[in-house]
């Protein structure tokens, strides 16, 4: 994706990929957060970017047991050595889940997903590929069910397509807002649950009344119709959706400096 924004020096290039757009907006969503439990993949890119842009003091917590990691490059996995070497503290995996996550100490849980439904519930377990084909296997739950249950709020980041944004999940791995208002309380889930889903097309947020995800923000040059076409349910739009600010040169430079040459997030 390109833009017609005026030319700037090379360090501030205003040309970006849709993944970069997504990651930059995901990083912005961390402004004001103190601590973030970071899922593998896109969330890790966004959370690391936020440390260089929107929220320099952000404390990154990885399920491999690191508290306060400050990697200089994006880790390929959540257990890369630099996450430990740069951390304020390293603890065991049981401890990170029991004392730190379940202990209710984390402001934001940042997750990816394979499928999301209109209540921001998540499937990362399996996909139904039709009656004649075996179920397709996904990686599984990882830390997500308890991350979504125990953080102050949850952010999701994933690419927008009808494959990912579905009318009905093939499997509920992780509860977002359940079947709607009151369900988190009924299930005993702490925190506000998902407050934003950041995609390569825009941002969806739960309607305060119904908890249903509605389109609140479009990325520059994206249309409501494009987003609706990429969503598996009849997506509602919150009045006139805002348009997200284009990535700044500083954001793009910081993101690109983080990325190991030749690697995707």
């Amino acid at each position: 994706m390109t833009t017609d924004a005026p030319a700037v020096p090379p360090a501030d290039r205003t040309e970006w990929t849709s993944d970069e757009l997504m990651t930059v907006n995901a990083a912005r969503a961390l402004a004001g957060a103190r601590t973030c439990f970071v899922g593998i993949g896109l969330p890790s890119a966004a959370a690391n970017l936020a440390r260089h842009t929107a929220e320099p003091g952000l404390v990154l917590i990885y399920e491999s047991g690191t508290l306060g990691s400050r990697p200089t490059r994006l880790p390929l996995s959540i257990g890369d050595g630099e996450l430990a070497d740069t951390a304020d503290a390293v603890v065991s995996v049981p401890e990170i889940f029991n004392y730190w996550l379940q202990g209710g100490r984390i402001d934001v849980g940042f997750l990816g997903a394979a499928q999301v439904d209109r209540f921001a519930n998540i499937n990362t377990t399996l996909v139904d590929r039709g009656p004649d084909r075996p179920e397709g296997r996904l990686p599984g739950a990882g830390g997500a069910p308890e991350i979504a249950a125990n953080c102050g709020r949850v952010l999701l980041v994933l690419r927008h397509s009808t494959r990912n944004f579905v009318r009905k999940l093939d499997f509920v791995t992780t509860v977002g807002h359940g079947a709607g208002p009151g369900d988190r309380e009924r299930l005993g889930l702490l925190g506000a649950g998902p407050t934003a889903v950041i995609t390569d097309l825009g941002i969806l947020r739960p309607d305060p009344e119904t908890s249903e995800l509605v389109l609140t923000d479009l990325h520059p040059q994206v249309t409501v119709e494009q987003v609706r076409a990429a969503t598996g349910w009849e997506l509602r739009v919150a009045g006139e959706p805002a348009v997200t600010a284009p990535p700044t040169g500083a954001e793009l430079a910081a993101l690109r400096a983080l990325r190991p040459a030749g690697r995707d997030a």
Binding site: L76, G79, V93, A149, G188
Partner: protein, 272 residues
């Protein structure tokens, strides 16, 4: 006290057909060399336990040695799918793979219960997830003080736990450092413990961020430098991210996998 043995002898003596085996190490210190020795010896019908099956279990599953997998996240970290795992689950190749699937928090607490010799552990988890319906090792308990219902997970007590560590001394005391994951719990939950190490030293010098397993809870130590490759051992090696990426095309194809297995495991003997 732990015996210091060759990897071949230790694997042959400690791991048997039909055993429940945990090989732990969260990205760091994954005991690949020991897994390859299991493949070479053809030890089969295993129930494998691991939070993140990773490439190491993709290889064991592809080799047809695994009856059941107990796990919580089965991907190739930073790369994509585990294709041998998927092929087994989706197509039953080379054999059907039974699953007992959990969340990370659930698996970690199952090991904690196992290490504590309790029959179960309690956590605030699985709420609303379909996971609980598909596992007979998740249930609920009610707090006798508050009436709150919480998840209960059944203890994991493997027959054997295999881990890789940086150092052991000659009495079999083991020290590992850096990300130490769930290794202590996995080791203490098991009946038998095999540790492969980068180095055998005269004296273990206490290190920052280390854990020590005394030799009297370790069954055998084998000296296997590089035994975690393509995972890594902090202070000795870095993660071979390229090898993880290269695994993707190999593992996508059954024949490519079998060739890889022959060339890289069967035709290579134990490294010492």
């Amino acid at each position: 006290m732990a015996e210091i043995r060759s990897l071949r002898d230790a694997v042959a003596d400690l791991i048997h057909d039909g055993d429940t085996v945990a090989m732990e190490g969260f990205t760091h210190l994954i005991p690949f060399a020991a897994a390859h020795e299991v493949i070479r010896q053809g030890i089969t019908d295993l129930t494998l336990v691991r939070m993140t099956p990773d490439v190491v279990y993709d290889q064991l599953i592809g080799a047809g040695l695994v009856r059941k997998l107990v796990f919580s996240w089965g991907g190739n970290p930073g790369v994509g799918s585990l294709h041998r795992f998927r092929d087994a689950v989706e197509n039953g190749w080379p054999r059907l793979l039974e699953l007992d699937e959990h969340s990370h928090a659930g698996m970690a607490n199952r090991y904690v219960a196992g290490a504590s010799r309790l029959p179960f552990a309690v956590l605030r988890g699985y709420r609303g997830s379909d996971l609980a319906d598909r596992s007979d090792t998740v249930s609920t308990v009610t707090c006798p003080f508050t009436g709150e219902r919480l998840a209960a997970v059944r203890a994991l007590n493997p027959d054997v736990t295999v881990i890789h560590a940086q150092q052991a001394d000659r009495a079999g005391n083991v020290q590992l450092w850096g990300l130490t994951g769930v290794q202590k719990e996995a080791a203490l939950a098991a009946e038998r413990v095999l540790v492969t190490v980068e180095e055998i030293v005269d004296t273990l010098e206490p290190r920052p961020r280390s854990i020590v397993l005394p030799g009297w809870v370790v069954t055998a130590v084998a000296h296997v430098p590089g035994g975690a490759h393509p995972s890594y051992a902090a202070g000795y090696s870095v993660r071979d991210n390229g090898a993880y990426a290269d695994w993707d095309p190999v593992s996508r194809d059954r024949e490519a996998f079998q060739t890889w297995l022959k060339d890289n495991v069967h035709d290579r003997s134990e490294p010492q």
